[in-house]
């Protein structure tokens, strides 16, 4: 029996009869992390890491059957050993290790190797078969350390405060937003947030994670506050009536895609800050090497060219069609 099969519902483990991050409704889903393209609504049972449970409940509904396990703890289902290991992508993100009759598979979900100061730090997991994301699987994607980027953001914010101009920064409501809030210099000014982000902040705080003070930007906040504030908005909220209340602001976008000028110009952002929750090219290659795996299956991103490159490097790599990496799902969530 195969340990993992690639089916039209998602990655399937026949001996345990469970799916990993499936995109169609199934009975039992193992979930790598809370983003909408991985944790979809409508499965009967969910299993994720403990710190992902409140996130999943917040997004999918408190009535759903969602069970948590600590990182590293083995769960046995029909003789299959299943365990979750930190992926460093966002809080509660995990790589899922599946071991059956001595054969080990790891499903990476989304990951980054750099420590961002908030998400549980990525740990390499030895395996025979590694199913990996490759969102940024081209050599042009090489990240600058977080420290430098955050210092760029701080300078931009401080300059805007001096110019009495609101600073609007776009970031996904789950993960990126909290990473920024946790890292920027909050002595520069107040941090105001979009509603979807503030709700997620509450979820983080309910888990005992301490974040600097933030305030939901609503009618109660005086407009004079805007000019000093760092306003964290979701990408989808730019152009909405909520964002229209903020006048004459400088717009910064925080994303790995900002590495390419064309992407930034398309977004109409004044500044693009290259900060990603995904591994860059060196990060991907380093992670793959660290697994010791010979068989690599890139799932989303530049899968074809990435696989071709890995094959030239002596791996047995094969791209897999999945439905991950769909931004629209994350936007709909907001």
């Amino acid at each position: 029996m195969k340990v993992i099969e690639f089916t039209n519902k998602g990655l399937y483990c026949p001996p345990a009869d469970v799916y990993i991050d499936p995109w169609k409704k199934v009975n039992y889903a193992l979930i790598t992390h809370g983003h909408a393209d991985h944790a979809r609504w409508g499965h009967k049972h969910y299993l994720c890491v403990d710190s992902s449970v409140p996130i999943l409940k917040h997004r999918l509904g408190h009535e759903m059957s969602i069970q948590g396990v600590p990182y590293g703890e083995k769960v046995n289902i029909n003789g299959v050993n299943i365990s979750y290991h930190p992926a460093g992508h966002i809080t509660g993100s995990a790589q899922i290790r599946i071991e059956y009759k001595g054969e080990i598979w790891v499903v990476s979900g989304d990951y980054k190797v750099e420590d961002d100061g908030l998400a549980e730090t990525y740990e390499p997991v030895k395996c025979h078969h590694f199913i990996t994301e490759c969102t940024f699987g081209l050599p042009v994607y090489k990240w600058t350390p977080q420290e430098t980027i955050i210092s760029d953001i701080n300078s931009w914010w401080a300059q805007n405060v001096a110019d009495r101009r609101p600073s609007v920064l776009t970031a996904y409501s789950l993960g990126k937003a909290q990473r920024l809030i946790n890292s920027v210099d909050s002595s520069i000014g107040p941090i105001l947030t979009h509603g979807a982000i503030e709700k997620m902040n509450d979820v983080y705080r309910s888990m005992g994670i301490s974040l600097p003070m933030t305030q939901h930007l609503n009618a109660k906040v005086h407009k004079n506050e805007y000019k000093k504030a760092l306003i964290i908005a979701t990408p989808a909220s730019i152009g909405s009536t909520w964002a229209k209340k903020i006048k004459n602001y400088s717009l910064g976008a925080v994303s790995g895609w900002m590495a390419v000028r064309g992407n930034r110009r398309r977004r109409g952002a004044d500044r693009g800050f290259v900060l990603s929750d995904h591994a860059d090219w060196p990060g991907l290659l380093q992670a793959i090497a660290a697994t010791g795996a010979e068989n690599i299956y890139p799932t989303h991103g530049n899968t074809h060219s990435f696989s071709k490159y890995l094959c030239e490097q002596g791996y047995n790599a094969q791209p897999i069609e999945t439905e991950y990496g769909d931004d629209n799902l994350e936007k709909a969530e907001e």
């Binding site: 081209l138 050599p139 042009v140 994607y141 090489k142 600058t144 895609w257 590495a259 390419v260 000028r261 064309g262 992407n263 110009r265 398309r266 109409g268 952002a269 004044d270 500044r271 530049n302 074809h304 060219s305 071709k308 490159y309 030239e312 769909d326 629209n328």
Partner: protein, 532 residues
Amino acid sequence: MKQFAALFAALDRTTKTKEKIAALSSYFQTADDQDKLWTIALFSHRRPKRTVSTTLLRTWAAERSGIPTWLFEEAYHTVGDLAETISLLANDEYEPVEKSLTQWIDEIKALKDHEEEEKKEFILDAWSSLNKTEVFLFNKLITGGFRIGVSQRLMTKALAQVLQLPESHIAHRLMGNWTPDDTTFEELLLADGDNMDLSKPYPFYLAYALDQDVEDMGEPSDWQAEYKWDGIRSQLIKRQGEIFLWSRGEELVTHSYPEFDVLAETEIDQFAIDGELVVYSDDGLQSFNHLQKRLGRKTVSKKFKREYPCRILCYDLLEYDGEDIRHLPLAERRQKLSTLLADLQSDISDLPLLLSEEIAFSDWESLTTLKRNARAANAEGLMLKLRSGSYKDGRKKGEWWKWKVDPYTIDAVMLYAQRGHGRRSNLFTDFTFAVWQEDGSLVPFTKAYSGLTDAEFKEVTQYVNKNTIERFGPVRSVTPELVFEIAFEGINESSRHKSSVALRFPRIKRWRRDKEAKEADTLANLKNLLNN
């Protein structure tokens, strides 16, 4: 280079016109004159002669980053800009060397007579002595094409501010055939007329498309109507006995059109005519298709001259008897134009210039009918110009309007997709469309790029990613399911195309989500339009 890189960063960091002008002004106030001159040249699409091919740049960049060339190409297609791709592959560490913009350019120019190995050494050294932004700019000095949202107009505004001169003066001075090698900042912008380049054209006055009901335009007698000819907008200049022909793209094309040499035979001198370059044979005005045969030819054989004789249909007169008359009302300029053409006619029997005649009309309704039938006159539509208006520079609203015939449209199926460049890199934006043939197969008939919103491009990109059948380098063939309405201005027979037709100005009008592929048009539908 530091100062130029700082200017670039400032321009690149804002989408606001006011801030861009401020950045340019402060640069023009402080930079070295020769650097300023080069900056103006680069931002107006002039670059030093290429001394290193882009193929070599690609090869060396791939080699330097230790990646196979196919992967470099893949990255290039995603980034959409060669200079940027190379800069993204550059190392974070570098050994800073400070040279001015002009110095770098001079060194690049000096590579001309060097061996490939020496060129390589120079380029690799440059890449390791500059930071990422500077590597990008350095590469752009070789590849050209600064797309940083600085229009000619913006630069004109900034220079006008710094030099305290009228914008129209600056706009005029920036026109024409100059390069930083044959002029100075002083001479280009400040010196008086005597030193000015003899060939220098005036900025073209460009019209917006009519955006209101023609009935609301007021008194018909205030407006001059004429056909909007489908050729190449041109400026014909004669000064001190020399003839210069400029195309709208600011290209000097005199030698491609020897028809106009005959103007040297008359004593009449010192004039500049704005008109449309067309093919005009004994049978009258020919379609753009005929003119296409003459485009871009450096030498013109007798046969081509005979088969595709070129003429200019004259719209306007900008300089008369050595005087810039752009400030005069249109009606007066047209009168002078008629006089000039009549005088030329009496000296030259086979004058290659014709007056683009005014269309007489008494009310807007009758003009609307004329517009609808403009294609029969081989025109794209009509032009409406305020009789009392002066000749402006650049695209200005209010006094000149183009009023085009409604385009042809056809529903077509998307067959191939390719990634875009620049602002649209990473998205599939260049598509090939097909219509049905009698045997039930699809035949590609046109490519089209623009016409969809960014959101739609994104959606189509997702479709392409999920429905790729085959990959041919950057091009993908996709499952033929999506239907688009394609609009175009003209259609001609063509032996070079599989569909046997060629379209003029094809673009995507809208996405027909309501239609299935089988409901798209047929080749027969398309060919029917040939007979119109």
